[in-house]
Symmetry: C2
Subunit: 323 residues, 2 copies
């Protein structure tokens, strides 16, 4: 097994942006990107892994950056024909994107592990860095809402995050094996763990719900750094702020830091939240950094990746000194 020096935990779009930045400043040997699979679901008989695909498309340069999901240069003739046949069309599947779902499903059914299929499909489209599904077993994010228990995509896509979330369950997480992630987290050669600016409940939450992973993060010798997905009380994208509030948390950078307090060594907040950084440092005794976290350009993504890694190095030096 290759020993990675940096491990990044990522969800979809926002996380993938930073993951892309990390791939620009770290070699394939040095970086392991762990993908949330709590959003995975079976649809039209196909195994769909939205976050893995967003990572693959983003890292390979195939992503449609304007739309924010799926492949660029995409066509929708399958979907249109599906509508004509009376099939389900609430989850948009592009013609090119469909190849990923069909080939993945075929290989999973033939007995291959999701992690192996992911490595192969990613490398086919030119991804050189390693994307590791958080586990090979199915974990399903289920949401108890004011309109009943909803599977993730039902809530997220079909109902467009309108229902109020009261409780979240990561079904299957308790018994999932987490691949070799917990071992990688225990590697003494590890320099840093980076939690990408993804939704703490819907994207990072399922990864942390794997018992071996959370334990390994708490025990991790390398600094664990998170980038706040909340900027000035709002999420860049998606329902993060809304969910944090209805689940009884403060929809602020501080609220996010509190969720990770048991294992976090450093926290990066946006420039807009510079004053909050001081509050977080004081309240949680947690070192903070201020950076431009709204990754619009490739330069932003690389700069944030670089800032997170520099922060990690500083935290390590601090620890060494204090030893």
């Amino acid at each position: 097994m290759v020993r990675h020096r940096v491990i990044a935990l990522s969800g979809g779009v926002g996380g993938a942006k930073l993951a892309w930045g990390l791939t620009r400043v770290l070699t394939p040997d040095d970086l392991l990107i762990v993908a949330n699979t709590g959003d995975d679901f079976e649809h039209l008989g196909l195994h769909i892994s939205p976050d893995i695909d967003t990572l693959i498309y983003t890292l390979s340069g195939l992503a449609d950056l304007a739309r924010g999901w799926g492949r660029d240069n995409e066509t929708w003739n399958f979907m249109s024909a599906m509508g004509g046949l009376g099939g389900e069309t609430w989850f948009q599947l592009g013609d090119r994107d469909l190849a990923m779902h069909i080939e993945r499903t075929r290989r999973l059914r033939s007995g291959e592990a999701l992690s192996q299929v992911t490595i192969d499909l990613a490398s086919r489209v030119g991804v050189r860095h390693r994307i590791l599904p958080m586990c090979d077993e199915p974990v399903r994010t289920m949401l108890e809402t004011d309109v009943g228990l909803l599977a993730f995509q039902d809530y997220f896509v079909r109902q467009q995050c309108r229902p109020s979330v009261q409780h979240i369950e990561y079904r299957g997480a308790e018994s999932a094996y987490a691949n070799k992630l917990h071992e990688a987290l225990a590697d003494p050669a590890l320099l840093a763990v980076v939690l990408c600016p993804s939704n703490p409940f819907l994207s990072i939450g399922p990864i942390l719900a794997l018992p071996a992973v959370r334990r390994a993060l708490v025990a991790c010798v390398a600094p664990v750094i998170a980038i706040s997905p909340i900027v000035a009380g709002k999420a860049i994208k998606g329902p993060t702020a809304q969910i944090m509030r209805t689940l009884g948390h403060s929809a602020t950078a501080l609220g996010v830091a509190e969720l990770y307090a048991d294992f976090l060594d450093g926290f990066v907040v946006d420039e807009e939240d510079a004053s909050e950084a001081t509050t977080i440092q004081e309240r949680l005794q947690l070192p903070c950094r201020v950076a431009d976290t709204i990754m619009v350009t490739p330069e932003h993504k690389m700069a944030l990746a670089d800032a997170a890694l520099r922060f990690g190095r500083e935290l390590s030096a601090l620890t060494s000194t204090s030893l």
Copy 2:
């Protein structure tokens, strides 16, 4: 159950042309089109029914008549992406066509019968006439060839009919139930059974391999009429002539008539084979008609359908007189 007055047995392209002609001269109540499913196969995890689809696309006007298979206005972005992922691309699946396979597969997996799924999907795209799969159970045409045992699509598409066929097996036919086809064939209200000009071994053969069907054809009171798929010793399309020869039959209209001799009441040969019609009548004591069987235009298709039905009426009148 609706009692149909004409039953047509059909394979893919050639059969579908005549089936289309029949739908122009018969109401949906009067016509039952039985589709070969011996070519069906599982590919990329999808249940593909090539002959059913050719019938659905042909009857709905969605077929690509120039290409001879699949949908018109088709795109191939799925296939192209599949190639990029290292997936199998030997069986071409268009983006629009894929909706049919995915939706059919989903519904079959949910426990629906192929016949029900076929009715629904066909009606969704505007087919008003009934297309009945020969049976709901899987029957698989397997070919023993000089390069070993091949599944139908492996022989037909991947190896482009190059291997020499030594024996054909219709796996599963012995125990398949034939839906209500044998009952429909026993209906005293039936006016005619038409075997479309399809490959006798690869398209009509699987239907006849259902024991109840062949028995019902032998016992059928209504005249059973076949249109020769062989014209002047050649097939319009596909490997019919070649297969007939390697299986020890004459690759002629006579050779086809001999295969159906135990149940056939009338045989239609092409104008090019007018002299052969006389031979067939004499040798097999089988009434023959000469017609233009090469269906290039819509008018040709309707004219051949009309000729077959007129032939049937004449044969019925003959039988009534001789009684």
